[in-house]
């Protein structure tokens, strides 16, 4: 990827990460760890991959995105704000009474949110439904969903995978955020859902494994997904929970707790200092 594009994507990812910290700090709650792990994926989706228009959020032909791991809404909101769906200043209303930015995404409140989701396992099915609707209606849009690795312990994820493969939804792209941690500990220790690649293949997916923080690999994976016909694609993105904030990286306690003022200042300084 040429340097200028790469710089732009990194800049957007940084904006998203800062938005995550701003939002969860202001809310005094929320899920920064898994939000930071998907920031690069969201940067690519919203600034390169998806055909979306902030001026017309409900455009029929648009590509669609469902954050099945909806607790990472702070990252989605930050991406939407960065993309121009609403002002970045709104990010600090996260989780507050009267805000459009609910703890988990609400399609009826937030411009750019395509599906209410967050009860784990449900969003991936809805994304598959959107993909089927595209096929029925002869539309060319694509549907993307990010699923958590812990979330993959939910049986419904696999029901949805069976469904997507059965109906040959090649306009459907599942991204697994493989950050390795869930609330009670490491994903493998809590309830080992691996190997995801073999399981997803067995469920009828074309599977691509990448480093979820490497934009060249992300770009190549989405391009390959577009070219894959007759079956859905799953991108297993190896990521770092808390990515970009030193004291949050790979720390399970940052799954669902917000930074205090001091931690906030340090996190913002680190993010603004780095790429």
């Amino acid at each position: 990827m040429e340097e200028s594009r790469l710089q732009l994507l990194r800049e957007r990812a940084k904006q998203i990460r800062i938005g995550v910290i701003e939002g969860t700090h202001a809310a005094k709650s929320g899920h920064p760890g898994g939000s930071l792990s998907i920031a690069d994926l969201l940067s690519y989706l919203y600034f390169e991959e998806m055909n979306v228009d902030p001026a017309d959020p409900k455009k029929e032909e648009r590509d669609r995105f469902v954050l099945s791991k909806g607790h990472c809404a702070p990252a989605l909101y930050a991406a939407l704000a960065a993309r121009g769906y609403f002002a970045p200043e709104e990010l600090t209303t996260l989780r507050k009474i009267g805000s459009r930015l609910q703890g988990h995404p609400d399609m009826t409140l937030t411009p750019g949110v395509d599906m209410s989701a967050g009860s784990l396992g449900l969003g991936v099915s809805s994304a598959a439904g959107m993909a089927l609707a595209g096929k029925i209606g002869g539309k060319n849009y694509r549907v993307y969903t990010i699923v958590g690795d812990g979330e993959s312990e939910e049986g419904q994820v696999w029901e949805a995978c069976m469904f997507a493969a059965h109906y040959k939804l090649d306009n459907f792209c599942l991204i697994l955020d493989w950050n390795g941690l869930q609330i009670d500990g490491s994903v493998e220790e809590v309830m080992n859902p691996t190997p995801h690649d073999k399981k997803l293949e067995a469920f009828g997916f074309h599977v691509i494994s990448i480093d979820g923080h490497d934009f060249d690999q992300i770009a190549a994976a989405f391009a390959e997904a577009r070219k894959t016909k007759g079956k859905p694609t799953a991108i297993i993105a190896k990521t770092v929970k808390g990515k970009g904030v030193s004291f949050m990286e790979n720390q399970v306690k940052w799954h669902g707790s917000a930074p205090n003022d001091e931690q906030y200042a340090q996190a913002i300084a680190e993010l603004k200092g780095g790429n």
Binding site: E60, M107, S119, M130, L132, E159, M162
Partner: protein
């Protein structure tokens, strides 16, 4: 003797009848032969999608389809549609208020021989607690057709409750009018009101005749729309007859009986005696044997009416 048709049969036929006029698709979870969506599947195979035995996924898929502007009917047995998939119905369909119509068949104990695991007597209670959910429990095939049409004309989540068992057609009359959210006063009376839903409506009409033999003048109200419930007709019944009996093929906890008691408790408190499944599971057996065993009978309605009248304040 009136014809007997199962409301599920009317559901399948209505889907075909309205398919030309309305843009919708139908999902099922490997029960098309039983829910009768098979009738639609045969007529419109390109608009029918089997989801396999995965009801939770089906409900969330239905929600996803509905976000694109298409109306979706999602069918299974009530046990799985409202029970198994409750959370998907609540979070994927109800919370975003999407245009998904849940066609739940095999509700209540008239499932028969399959027994308690498949006899859902809790679905109305579950669905009633979902904000924005409309619930219709038709009393016969005529009303079932109207319910499907009403679902198509109404924006938002909609729960349609159908039965497996063939029940008498009681609404094939020129003056029959279905209005969503409005109960139907089938017979006037002064002493007590029998408020019934689903297959209990025809039994309530029979109970009225039996009560008349004993000089008791019973009003009969058909509540096909359980939510939003017709507060007006219930309040008038309470005020004008002073006692109410509710009749439903559902647990008396959370169903029609609860809904009626909630309304009249607020608007015009009178004795309410609830006839239905008395907080119990069902059993295997023929439908007549089950209705008898669990007291979903004309005799029980007559007893309940007398009990309600006796409780009136002097």
């Amino acid at each position: 003797m009136a014809d007997k048709i199962a409301t599920r049969e009317a559901y399948g036929k209505a889907l075909v009848e309205f398919a030309g006029q309305y843009d919708f698709v139908v999902l099922d979870a490997d029960l098309a032969e039983a829910t009768k969506t098979v009738i639609f599947k045969k007529a419109y195979p390109e608009r029918f999608f089997d989801c396999g035995i995965a009801e939770g996924n089906m409900m969330s898929v239905a929600a996803g389809i509905a976000t694109t502007g298409k109306t979706v009917f999602a069918s299974s047995f009530a046990m799985f549609a409202a029970g198994r998939a409750f959370e998907q119905v609540r979070n994927s369909i109800g919370y975003p208020h999407l245009n998904v119509k849940i066609g739940a068949t095999h509700a209540g104990i008239t499932v028969g021989e399959d027994g308690a695991t498949h006899q859902c007597n809790e679905d109305i209670a579950l669905m009633r607690t979902i904000p924005g959910m409309t619930i219709v429990n038709p009393s016969d095939a005529v009303e079932a057709r109207e319910a499907v049409l009403a679902a198509l004309k109404t924006n938002g989540p909609f729960y349609l409750r159908f039965g497996r068992y063939a029940v008498p057609v009681i609404n094939d009359k020129p003056d029959y009018r279905f209005t969503l959210g409005k109960g139907i006063r089938l017979a006037d009376g002064r002493d007590v009101t029998l408020v019934a839903t689903g297959l209990m409506v025809s039994l309530a009409l029979e109970a009225r005749e039996a009560l008349a033999q004993e000089g008791i003048d019973a009003r009969v109200v058909n509540i096909h729309t359980i939510k939003p419930i017709d507060r007006e007709i219930l309040t008038a019944a309470a005020a004008e007859t002073g006692a109410i009996v509710t009749a439903e093929e559902h647990n008396i906890i959370g169903g029609l009986g609860s809904a009626v008691a909630e309304v009249v408790g607020e608007t015009c408190p009178v004795p309410v005696v609830r006839v239905g499944m008395n907080d119990t599971y069902g059993h295997s057996g023929t439908v007549p044997a089950l209705l008898e065993a669990y007291g979903l009978t004309v005799e029980h309605l007559v007893r309940a009416a007398k009990e309600a009248i006796a409780k009136k304040r002097a």
